[in-house]
């Protein structure tokens, strides 16, 4: 009897306290994408989440599921004097609870980024439902505008951003990387910037998104967005570029050759000699020749050496121009300072305070350790065979 009473009390402890914080998935708005803008002194926060009921899901029947663009996505925004308040205002307009654990990409508008992003980052890192593994990127112009761009290729727009980031960079920049760069001495954050463009199908193009360049920060403020040419050079120096391609002309000729890297990595090594500090970037990789109209014999030692040397020169030219550009912005996104601090803490103690002044003038030298691995199925350029 006593036993039964005890059991009853124990069992009712399961149900009575009412501490059920159970949430069914159909009460959640699973945010995939969010954007932050600043209009004057107001923040504008927007979220985009899929309308799961509209997604082609259970009912497999019939074709023609194509649907109109933007149909299965819901975008809503709200304004307020603080980010949290804006979010609360946003929630007031939605029947489902905003759920940020599955957010894949967050976009910050150019204007806001120029004023500093640490307030947003604080907001995110404080609340565990916000994953700091979310990719962060910058919109050229208004973030809300970029977010609203209809995406035809993927079911969810966030997926489009994510896949493009993954195609271009080895390790796309996450919120965690940015926070880390802000908090670490001698390194500044960077990420990719996107813009809204038209597809180039001739005539009228559809709206779409594209990479606009690399967003370079100094501390938490955006100081510039590089152009496409410099972007790939900087990414290469950052050891972030996926399978780069270089097309150029061989010295003494006017016909082009294309080198496609299968893998390439870069290594940064600070060198202190006497009172001089320089940085050495070493590139290691293997490449293949994907077009060749210039060099006749690639299979000989001399031929491949000549091509490799030309590839090295090309890389040196592109990367050094890009690195100089970043240096002129005064943003140490390569972490020259932090690597110097790690390898030569004594030197850093003396010059660390002046690093911001020294950084733009640090010389960078380039070493290469690359090799040609495939020349393709052709040996001689086809043109050579046409008319002997």
């Amino acid at each position: 009897m006593r036993r039964a009473a005890c059991l009853l009390v124990a069992a009712s402890a399961l149900f009575l306290p009412g501490c059920w914080n159970r949430t069914e998935v159909n009460d959640l708005a699973i945010v995939q994408l969010s954007s932050y803008d600043k209009d004057g002194d107001h923040y504008r926060v927007a979220v985009s989440f899929p309308l799961v009921s509209q997604m082609s899901g259970t009912q497999g029947g019939g074709g023609g599921t194509g649907g109109k663009e933007g149909q299965n996505n819901y975008v809503e925004s709200a304004e307020a004097g603080a980010i949290r308040t804006a979010l609360a205002n946003l929630q007031r307009k939605l029947s489902r609870r905003l759920y940020f654990a599955h957010r894949r990409v967050m976009i910050i508008g150019e204007e806001m980024a120029k004023l500093g992003i640490s307030e947003i980052l604080d907001n995110i890192a404080r609340f565990p439902e916000n994953r700091i593994s979310t990719f962060l990127l910058i919109a050229k112009g208004q973030a809300l505008d970029l977010m609203q761009t209809p995406v035809l290729m993927e079911r969810i727009p966030a997926e489009m951003f994510r896949e493009i980031l993954g195609n271009v960079m080895k390790k796309p920049v996450t919120v965690k990387d940015i926070i880390h760069a802000i908090l670490t001495e001698g390194i500044d954050p960077y990420t990719l910037a996107f813009e809204r463009t038209k597809t180039q199908t001739g005539g009228r193009g559809e709206d779409t998104i594209a990479i606009s360049g690399l967003a370079v920060f100094r501390d938490d403020r955006l100081v510039g967005i590089l152009d496409a040419k410099h972007t790939s050079g900087v990414l290469l120096a950052l050891d972030q570029l996926q399978r780069p391609v270089f097309s150029f002309q061989m010295p003494g000729g006017n016909k082009s050759i294309t080198a496609q890297f299968m893998q390439i990595s870069s290594d940064l090594e600070p060198i202190v000699a006497g009172g001089d500090i320089r940085m050495r970037l070493t590139f290691t990789g293997i490449y293949e020749i994907s077009t060749n109209e210039s060099e006749k014999v690639l299979t000989t030692y001399e031929g491949s050496n000549r091509v490799t040397e030309a590839v090295e020169n090309q890389i040196r030219k592109e990367v050094s121009a890009a690195v100089r550009e970043v240096q002129s912005l005064g943003a140490d996104i390569f972490g020259f300072g932090s690597s110097l601090k790690r390898s030569h803490p004594g030197v850093w103690k003396k010059i660390g305070g002046r690093w911001r002044d020294l950084y733009p003038h640090v010389p960078v030298e380039y070493r290469f350790n690359i090799r040609l691995e495939h020349v393709g199925s052709l040996n001689l350029p086809i043109r050579e065979n046409v008319n002997p």
């Binding site: 399961l14 949430t23 998935v25 959640l28 699973i30 995939q32 799961v52 899901g57 439902e129």
Partner: protein, 485 residues
């Protein structure tokens, strides 16, 4: 209180007629010689073999060749109780005039099911014979496997009314004498009017009747019984039941099937690992699904979550209610199909698949992912080779689901801790239920999660056969080159 047999035939016959009246199947047959009744025979029609009676009892009696009756087996009884016991177990009893003893002759017969392929434990590779309801057949089937005087079979009679014969079998040189003493003691203590199935014995002598976990293994297969005897376990045969009980048992043991040992070791090991994984699934999967879907949506990959969310969009019930509805109807479906004749059973499974599966999903009452979870759980529970353990797992997943519905993954962890602590406390005849895992015995690892080749299984289970562990001497190396001529 025994009633002695009298000297006079008439008195004996009257006593028996009085005791056995209103029994149409009892036959009392007089033997006359020169117009005078010299003897009579008592037997039960149907239990005794009529051919044996006419050939081995009646014929010699009529020829006055007393010594020739029932050449195979006979004994003498001095009191009526012994006679009745014998008669009711299918023997015949002959009373002679001027003798205060009765001769019991073994004419047991009657029709019983023959040796057939076991229903509940089918194998692809392995012997096809199974136990039946006849105790003698069953003991003989095991004797055929183990032809050694070390295999002992002790007989007990249990049940005041049913007088059921129960046989305790064990390998004298392997079994732990302490276990043997204990089981004898427990068997002697049983006092009940009737034993109709080995399940009665199981509940009387198991260590903890209030544990959901089975503490006996039962089998219909003589090869399984023989294997367990050789491991140092005992077996209990019950007359009238094709199931033989075996103990001491461990959890890992219940997850092993006889085919693990008959197929080559890699296949056996792979299937065993698969089975262990699915056993865990059968217990935890619905609970984990409920917990993750209602508390920890962040743990699911985004695309999967969106698919599940799309499927759940129109479902009127919370996930936990949905899960309980589906799991209960699955159990009902399973129960219904067992009781039905095989021909109707198919109709039930069609109804189940169509009504519970497809129609319910299309009507938007349950979501498709839930149906997948339930069927996966069902399949998982059918991979458990022992029905009694499978039913335990199926039963325990309901409290796990409720814990998950109330507390999320935290509840599942609490449930796991409760189950594990219960298991580590449980013992079967002094052997820890989790032995192999806890206490971990590295010496038994050759037959735990994987089964190593027989050549490597030099010892028996250390926990059970701890007095006689050696199974074989190390086999010599083979020389592949020398096989050719």
């Amino acid at each position: 209180m025994k009633t002695p047999i009298r000297n006079r035939l008439e008195a004996n016959r009257r006593w028996l007629e009085e005791r056995l009246k209103d029994n149409f199947d009892v036959v009392i047959q007089d033997i006359e010689h020169r117009g005078k009744t010299v003897a009579f025979l008592v037997f039960i029609e149907g239990m005794a073999d009529s051919e044996a009676i006419s050939d081995h009892v009646m014929a010699p009696l009529l020829r006055q060749e007393w010594d020739h009756i029932s050449a195979s087996q006979r004994s003498e009884a001095g009191d009526f109780e012994t006679v009745l016991d014998a008669v009711f177990s299918g023997n015949g009893a002959v009373f002679f005039d001027n003798t205060d003893k009765a001769t019991i002759v073994n004419v047991r017969g009657g029709t019983r099911r023959g040796v057939e392929e076991p229903n509940s434990e089918a194998v692809i590779r392995g012997p096809r014979e199974g136990f039946n309801e006849n105790l003698r057949t069953n003991t003989a089937l095991v004797r055929f496997k183990i032809q050694s005087p070390n295999l002992k079979m002790e007989a007990f009679t249990i049940g005041k009314e049913t007088r059921t014969q129960v046989v305790l079998a064990y390998m004298e040189d392997i079994i732990d004498p302490g276990v043997l003493r204990e089981v004898r003691e427990r068997l002697r203590k049983i006092e009940i009017d009737g034993i109709l199935e080995s399940g009665y014995i199981e509940e009387f002598i198991e260590d903890d009747s209030y544990s959901p976990f089975p503490q006996f293994q039962y089998t219909e297969r003589p090869d399984t019984a023989a294997a367990q005897l050789l491991e140092g376990r005992f077996a209990i045969f019950v007359d009238g039941s094709p199931f033989v009980l075996m103990a001491p048992v461990t959890l890992m043991e219940l997850l092993q099937a006889s085919e693990d040992y008959y197929e080559r070791f890699m296949i056996g090991s792979m299937i065993r690992i698969l089975r262990i994984a699915f056993t865990l699934l059968a217990l935890y999967l619905p609970g984990v699904y409920v917990a993750v879907m209602t508390y920890h949506q962040d743990m699911i990959p985004t695309n999967l979550l969106l698919s599940i969310a799309a499927a759940r969009e129109a479902i009127p019930f919370p996930t936990i209610v949905e899960a309980l509805i589906m799991e209960v109807s699955f159990e009902a479906l399973r129960e219904a199909s067992i009781r039905l004749p095989r021909t109707i059973g198919q109709a039930v499974s069609i109804l189940g698949a169509l009504v519970v599966g497809q129609a319910a999903v299309e009507a938007g009452i349950v979501s498709a992912p839930m149906v997948i979870i339930v069927s996966l759980t069902g399949i998982a529970s059918f991979t458990i080779p022992r029905f009694n353990l499978a039913i335990t797992m199926r039963m325990l997943r309901f409290p796990m689901m409720i814990m998950a519905g109330v507390f999320g993954l935290f509840g599942i962890v609490v449930g796991m801790v409760l189950i594990t602590s219960h298991l580590s406390r449980l013992r079967s005849f002094g052997v820890p239920y989790l032995s192999g895992l806890a206490p971990a015995s590295p010496k038994d690892k050759h037959d735990l999660f994987v089964r190593l080749p027989w050549k490597r299984q030099l010892t028996r289970n250390h926990e059970i056969a701890h007095l006689n562990r050696k199974r074989m001497t190390e086999p010599g190396r083979m020389h592949p080159e020398e096989g050719r001529s």
